[in-house]
Symmetry: C2
């Protein structure tokens, strides 16, 4: 055994044999080329070759598989769609992968209760589409919707573009079923909206990245489908103006604001001019760009957005604006914002920070980071795009490709963030990539409490070893 | 020591001396008449006379007091405004009470971030009023707002009349500071909206009724102040029609519905006719009464509610309606719903159930409960009032005052509820009164997980002994 208590050598072979017996040939992959496909996620971190890939088809199979892995002290890395950006689903040395891909499908939709019950392996988009067939919607929405699974979005507490109105995934899960490390099943799949009968245990599994249990099923709270919305792009002098616009938008539209996304000039120039990722929807150079979407009230939302622009222009808050007049124009405006995925791929060697702060501090933090990075030879420019209303910026920092550059830039940015009392990850999660930085956001008392929880529910440390907790001894 | 491990006799006197030294004369009460005032809450359950009442004035004092209580194995019952209905704040035998009353006040309001930081002992209404002075609001609202404290609302995950739009307390807390049983302080008082940097520890303290830690401060998420709203009372044929109205209201008003409250005929007759708690705002007898409040959109909300009533009337869903035309009329309509507090006092011996279910199942459950209770000689009638959109009914069952009646009626109603997969408490909490029934809502695996958490964070069992966990050995 190594210091993780994870088994080596022959014991592993015995464990794999027992798992094969349990799951059958469809439920277990051991050939290296098969296993290699499950080694990594979208983070770019190279994962270890999994010892085997478990593909259970039921909660009971997950339960029995985890009981076996506990018995043989085999690490288990849970995987959904492997679209994570923090390496939380990258395989660990000597561990098996547990993929939920054979546990997919929608068990039930209840229109009156506005709930949808799905298996963990169901893709997010499948859930959204199923909800729409009955005139409802599931408001958690991220770019990777076609591949990301419900189980993965729950394990990582996914955010996305509709958090302002509907909250993170945590706010949209009514019931949950999860399997603990020892194989016991903790199931609460009712549709009760208000429930104060004891601890809200599902909160422990949401956002804990598979380190406390593996999500197998969930009851999701659906929302009504927004019948019509309007979209505009506003050019502003700076981020401070964006905050003033947000306050004004809240006064005017109340809870009808469905998106309020910000782009800094570095990002705008990169996607619209330095590359051809998107066509620039307006000319000129501005200090900040804002994408605002509102759902229609009793009058047309386009007219309301036009009146809103006039108000902002009058107040000197907006310099230019484009209102989408068709579905095609809406797509073109969204394209500028959603090009961040390709920008991430085409920006050369860089670090993708996912900064969480008070919304009121976000702009000043970005200014301070710009100043800091301008003084570092290793840093080669930034792209900044994010969720203005949520205090979340995706800060991409290009560098010269050296390991030392990464180390120095991370230390600088996370050091600054610690001074600003922010979160080292707002929505992407800690995973394996940010595990060493968690202490910049959490106090020693909080980390002790987290370790206590981990020790309580996974005493052998078999669940997602290496994720979230940097210390190998947890 | 008794089986709880709580100290008796002289050891207690030593502990009280040490606590007196720590907290000073203003910070500790020991005279029996003083202590007696802190024995009970609004549940009617007689609490034991507290050994002493601790009134710490800072987080540090709470921390040192808990460290002392741990050392001497003295039970600690945390108290806010003592407005709870489940006995969660009733003092326990041989325990001290820890009141947050000297830790009151608002530390900061951040208009841009829309946050308010308050000490645990601050009354809810004080927070609401402070938010309104800057054009914002705090959406958690309950009848006991003048006395209930922020700490208490967090510890019990308070619900109330605005859950439909803003969620329970859990959804409105951004940051939290709590003290664990051993005195360690877990503090996270930032204003970060999106934060996936490890476990969301505050979720453990919210709704766990002071059994895992004592809340000392919180950062609350404010919302914009609703500029104008309209209120109407609709008479419907039955609860099924109320669900159809809710679906129609969601289509028409979207997220602008601020209240959607239901009253069954038994409740209506009691407050409007059998007593004079409220004046009947409409004549005739109907199968269900609905109070609906919506915030104004671009046109007047009154006109919209009138058009909505016409739609419902046309569809045979509404039989009669009253639209409030002035603030006085709004108050009169709300009065019928809010008379539940006095109804609770004037209804004679009864049990106050706080049932949580899927909204779609609530009406059928109430019908089944009526049939069940009609067959029980001990049951002397019901009052039913609740939150239609949240699947929460307050079911008051009158009985003949005998202990056996209570026992039999509770067994019958909770037994029915277990078959319906509901929550034995939707918003009032488990406290001491419902602790023995928690197994009707939670599985053995869930209860084991809850006990594991309790053992992890309060191994000596000093925090709120007897609350939430019925088993004295926890």
């Amino acid at each position: 055994m190594d210091r993780n208590g994870i088994q080596h050598g022959n014991a592993r072979a015995v464990a794999v044999t027992a798992l094969t017996e349990l799951l059958g040939p469809k439920g277990l992959l051991t050939a290296a080329p098969d296993c290699a496909r499950y080694a990594s996620d979208q983070s770019g971190l190279p994962g270890a070759l999994p010892l085997a890939v478990l593909r259970p088809a039921s909660t009971d199979e997950v339960s029995q598989a985890l009981a076996l892995c506990s018995r043989y002290r085999i690490g288990v890395v849970p995987q959904g769609g492997r679209t994570g950006l923090s390496g939380g689903a990258c395989s660990a040395e000597g561990a098996v992968v547990l993929s939920t891909e054979r546990m997919a499908g929608i068990a039930e939709i209840d229109r009156e209760a506005m709930t949808l019950t799905a298996w963990a392996g169901t893709p997010l988009e499948t859930v959204q589409e199923a909800a729409r067939t009955v005139g409802l919607d599931y408001p958690v929405d991220i770019g990777a919707r076609g591949t990301a699974t419900i189980g993965g979005t729950i394990a990582t507490n996914a955010g996305g573009i509709r958090v302002l109105q509907h909250g993170m995934t945590r706010a949209n899960v009514l019931g949950l079923e999860a399997v603990l490390a020892d194989g016991s099943v903790v199931s609460r799949l009712g549709k009760t909206v208000k429930d104060n009968s004891g601890f809200d245990l599902k909160q422990l599994f949401i956002g804990s990245e598979g380190t406390l249990g593996i999500v197998t099923r969930a009851v999701l709270q659906l929302c009504r489908q927004v019948p019509q919305s309007a979209l505009a792009l506003f050019a502003l002098p700076d981020h401070a103006a964006a905050l003033a616009c947000l306050a004004a938008a809240r006064r005017r539209f109340g809870s009808r604001i469905t998106a309020f996304e910000g782009m800094w000039p570095d990002y705008w120039e990169f996607v619209c001019h330095a590359t051809s990722l998107a066509s620039p929807p307006m000319a000129g150079r501005h200090g900040f760009y804002l994408l605002i979407e509102v759902e229609a009230g009793s009058e047309g939302a386009e007219d309301e957005l036009e009146a809103f622009f006039a108000e902002l222009f009058e107040a000197g808050l907006a310099e230019d604006g484009v209102l989408a007049k068709s579905v095609a124009e809406m797509r073109a405006l969204w394209r500028v914002r959603e090009a961040v995925g390709e920008a991430d791929e085409g920006f050369g060697p860089h670090i993708n920070f996912d900064i969480g702060l008070s919304p009121s501090a976000l702009g000043r933090f970005c200014d301070a980071a710009d100043v800091l990075l301008a003084g570092m030879l290793e840093a080669k420019g930034t792209l900044k795009v994010g969720h203005v209303g949520d205090g979340n910026v995706h800060l991409l920092v290009a560098h010269d490709g050296s390991g030392r550059a990464e180390e120095r830039i991370e230390a600088a940015v996370y050091g600054l963030l610690r001074d600003w009392n922010g979160a080292v990850t707002a929505e992407h999660g800690i995973g394996r990539i940010k595990a060493r930085w968690i202490g910049h956001s959490r106090t020693p008392e909080e980390l002790a409490m987290m370790r206590g929880l981990k020790a309580q529910f996974d005493p052998l440390g078999i669940l997602n070893p290496g994720a979230l907790f940097a210390d190998p001894e947890r």
